[in-house]
Amino acid sequence: MLQNIVIGQYVPVESPIHRLDARSKILAVLLMAVVVFLANDVMTNAILVTFVSLLVLLSKVPLRFFIKGMLPIFILIAFTFILHALFTNEGEVLFTVLGFSVYSGGIIQGLFIAIRIGALVIIASLLTLTTSPIDLTDGFEAYLRPFKRFGVPSHEIALMMAISIRLIPTLLLEADRILKAQSARGADFTKGSLKTRLNTMTAFIIPLFVRSFKRAEDMATAMDARGYRGGEGRTKLRILKWQGKDTVAIVLIVLFGCTLGILRYV
């Protein structure tokens, strides 16, 4: 069952975006988070939609992965759209629902907001869909490193993330095993009131925790035995390479931001 699972959301296909350095992709997402809010009229929103669509196409990640990522956010988007549609009093009255007059300006404003949130979510998914969790961790570590002098344990945070990611499938497998073992002993996780269900869940949660603590201890011993002594004097196998294309990507994002800015303010 675990043969096909992909940790995180990473979709391993070949694309120009996949080949970018994790650091440039993280930076690009941060920049885009600002740029997205520059879009405020039909023109700029259209450009934003086009740009984001191009990025999605460029990533070669099948569309369904983006749709899957959008689903949980969809409620939020729908909610903000409705709020805007109901409470913006601009343009002409289109129709009236439950005593609220819906103006054309409201619909448009709602759409703009929906586009912005949608674009943000897609941009963020692009990062996790095209970057493997380990590269992502390395990228974050690189950005955290300067804060080390202020006491931020960048190496430790990165190692913790990496080990957690590595243990997800192990935990899933174990959870499955415990579920089966407890079912075999007569535990029924699907019947009864919420309270009884929560009670039965303890039969699942507690063994899972006990096993995890045991594993953590074993792993600490194994790490000790292999000479782990914190980040000091440690070398790294994985190196991040900032290449020309990473600079190009960042420049493109900045140019895109400038374009939107000019169209908005000039």
Binding site: L2, Q3, I5, I7, P133, I134, A162, I163, I165, R166, P169, T170, L173, R215, D218, M219, T221, A222, M223, D224, A225, R226, G227, Y228, R229, G233, R234, T235, K236, L237, R238, I239
Partner: protein, 276 residues
């Protein structure tokens, strides 16, 4: 060259506890293949941990290549010299892929990246995981994971490798793979210290140390040790089938001593003149 020397070692975790290791002395020379047998709670694993400085003796001294495990400054050197492979393949796989996991120890030791790549290549080739370097742990079998763990230790170029029941959680195929790897390491002159419950595995080694209640009650060459299978039978060990048969033959006077190699024994049976 790294000789392991334990002199009058006593160990317990807390004051109230009974001794887990009591008055244990042993010398293991470079290149030996030693199995440590014993029942659960006999102190086998504790002994292993004392040797690579994961634990330090309550009294007495453990030295590896002349360096005491008590010496704070030498701990990392000792751990590099005496690598350890543990029982649970899943609990010692730290990184996300085989390659990263082999690199983990090297990164800790501060090995330069170029050298690291070379060592990963040679270590993974030696244990036969070179085609699995980019595989994630959940896609590997237990035997493959253990071999990856061995490669991780091997990359640190140890003189000694300690296997703490490293085959206990593996299926027969995984066991075979790991045993074959051990044999190959032994041939290359690495000291093998193997903690096990399996007599079949102990048969492969040169020397058998049997522990009970934290003491060594037998320390002899494997050939000598297996001449007295009663010793094991008394302690509820299950003899390998071909040794059981030999036991009957010896007891009934058809054979004078035990042969540890099954094929050799079969051959000698076929060529023997005695009429059973």
């Amino acid at each position: 060259m790294s000789t392991i020397e334990c002199k009058n070692v006593f160990f317990k975790y807390t004051d109230e506890q009974d001794w887990i290791i009591q008055d244990l002395s042993i010398t293991i020379k470079q290149g030996e293949w030693v199995s440590i047998l014993g029942t659960n709670g006999s102190g086998k694993s504790t002994l292993a941990r004392l040797i690579n400085a994961l634990l330090t003796p309550t009294s007495g001294a453990v030295t590896v290549a002349g360096k005491s495990t008590d010496d704070e400054g030498e701990i990392w050197n000792i751990r590099q010299k005496a690598g350890m492979v543990f029982q649970n393949p899943d609990h010692q796989f730290v990184a996300a892929t085989v390659r990263d996991d082999i690199a983990f120890g090297l990164e800790n030791a501060g090995v330069a990246r170029d050298e690291m790549l070379k060592r990963i290549a040679s270590a993974s080739e030696r244990v036969g995981v070179d085609d699995l370097l980019f595989a994630e742990p959940h896609r590997l079998s237990g035997g493959q994971k253990q071999r990856a763990a061995i490669a991780g230790v091997l990359a640190l170029q140890p003189d000694i490798m300690i296997f703490d029941e490293a085959t206990a959680m593996l299926d027969p195929k995984g066991r075979k793979e790991v045993m074959a790897t051990m044999k190959q390491l032994h041939e290359r002159g690495i000291t093998i210290l193997m903690i096990t419950h399996e007599l079949e595995e102990a048969l492969e080694s040169d020397r058998v140390v049997f522990m009970e209640h934290g003491k060594i009650i037998n320390d002899s060459k494997a050939e000598e040790f297996f001449q007295k299978p009663e010793f094991l039978v008394e302690r509820d060990f299950h003899l390998p089938y071909f040794l059981q048969v030999q036991k009957h033959l010896v007891e009934n006077g058809f054979q004078t001593n035990y042969l540890l190699d099954e094929d050799e024994w079969v051959k000698s049976l076929c060529t023997s003149n005695s009429r059973m």
